[in-house]
């Protein structure tokens, strides 16, 4: 009975937003640390953007109220709003940066492509088309036919930029990990215990990040 009342009082949508902010913060940090683009957290973002819209409406409808106490309260609403907007923008900006950098690779790899939001995918395609046309118009049209490709992988060098999965990342262990961690190409083998903080190459802990055993910081 108590929890039904609590839900009724709190109003289900707003009661989850503190956790959403916490989660988005962690998603942002992870996105900044990981070399590859991570799955888009659409649910959290949608809920937070709705809360942002609510607060903006609240501010707009309160503009007439000029008494000192009310205007101070509005300043607080506004300050927090700016913080949340910053967080949302930072998360999206970080992803766009990776999309720009690795667009060809993302396009060619369905598994990575699936991690983009629909509008990110749209952005990427127009971005690629623009770049392509630009290069073609600028200089590629003067190249012989067989040298016009932007995704050439012949020979040992690939033109397609891929994220460096072996780059060093800082991470924190949330749960004891049963399996031993090994680093490809070396003798290193070690176990991860809850609470440890370490620097290691991303590829070694990639799956653990996926299931939450390890958190990027």
């Amino acid at each position: 009975m108590d929890d039904i009342l609590a839900e009724f009082d709190a109003g289900a949508p707003s009661s989850s937003s503190p956790q959403d902010v916490e989660h988005l913060t962690k998603f942002w940090i992870a996105e900044r640390t990981a070399p590859e683009i991570l799955p888009y957290q659409g649910d959290v973002l949608e809920r937070l953007m709705e809360r942002v819209r609510d607060q903006i409406s609240l501010l707009e409808s309160s503009l007439g109220n000029l008494d000192p106490t009310s205007s101070f309260r509005l300043i607080l609403v506004q300050t927090e709003l700016e913080r949340i907007k910053f967080l949302i923008r930072a998360y999206l900006r970080c992803r766009l940066h990776k999309i720009d950098k690795y667009s060809l690779h993302i396009l060619q790899t369905p598994e990575v492509r699936a991690r983009l939001a629909p509008n990110e995918l749209g952005y990427m395609k127009s971005h690629l088309a623009l770049m392509n046309n630009h290069y073609l118009a600028s200089f590629l049209k003067n190249f012989p036919e067989n040298l016009r490709r932007l995704d050439d992988t012949v020979g040992r060098l690939s033109m397609v930029d891929e994220p460096d999965m072996d780059s060093a990342v800082f991470c924190k262990v949330n749960r004891d990990v049963d399996t031993e961690i090994t680093i490809r190409g070396t003798d290193a083998a070690f176990e991860l215990k809850r609470g440890e903080v370490l620097v290691v190459r991303y590829s070694a802990i990639r799956e653990l990040v996926g299931n939450g055993d390890v958190e990027l910081i």
Binding site: S17, L76, A168, F170, I183, E196, V197, V199
Partner: protein, 178 residues
């Protein structure tokens, strides 16, 4: 790329902190929290960013966290000297950012902030930061294979080491590849 110091400070500003309100303020429903009702002189807990605004407007005094005292910091400093290969876990994740923000905005609420001499809080904090930094760099140089343990370091300290640490681990990787 890695987080910048201003971004780490931004994160530190969500840390809950205890205040003593000087003016009443009704509860306010925000996105990341619903603020508690402020009724002087009852203490309340609010996020740091809010405490800083209230303090600036002289609507509250800040209760410094228990670790932010000369007694505690000098104790940790001694521990750091006595334990050359690990980092004290007694400091909170954002200790560096928190101490900077609080000393800047509320030094009048922090008893040890302006004592001067060797037990001055700022002096001790600086010494603590330096000893941990040099331990971290030495530890990074001492290659432990292909991963490095950094338990006990704070977020800002880790951020400052990122470039260095990244280079070391990348260097290790290249060595491993030959």
């Amino acid at each position: 790329g890695p987080l910048r110091p201003t971004e780490v400070s931004f994160l530190a500003e969500s840390t809950p902190i205890t205040i003593i309100p000087r003016q009443r303020l009704d509860t306010l429903p925000l996105i990341s929290l619903t603020t508690p009702r402020l009724t002087p002189p009852q203490r309340a807990t609010v996020p740091l960013w809010l405490a800083l605004i209230l303090k600036k407007q002289k609507r509250c005094n800040i209760v410094p966290p228990s670790w932010l005292s000369s007694h505690t910091i000098s104790g940790i400093l001694q521990w750091e000297h006595d334990n050359p290969s690990s980092f004290s876990g007694a400091l909170p994740w954002h200790w560096l950012e928190l101490s900077e923000l609080l000393l800047e905005a509320a030094s009048d609420d922090i008893p040890d902030a302006n004592v001067g001499g060797e037990m001055d809080l700022r002096v001790l904090l600086r010494a603590l930061r330096e000893v941990r930094q040099s331990k971290a760099r030495d530890g990074l140089k001492q290659l432990e294979g292909t991963y490095l343990l950094m338990n006990g370091l704070g977020m800002m300290e880790i951020t400052e080491l990122r470039g260095f640490a990244g280079m070391v681990v990348d260097g290790l990787r290249k060595l491993g590849a030959t």
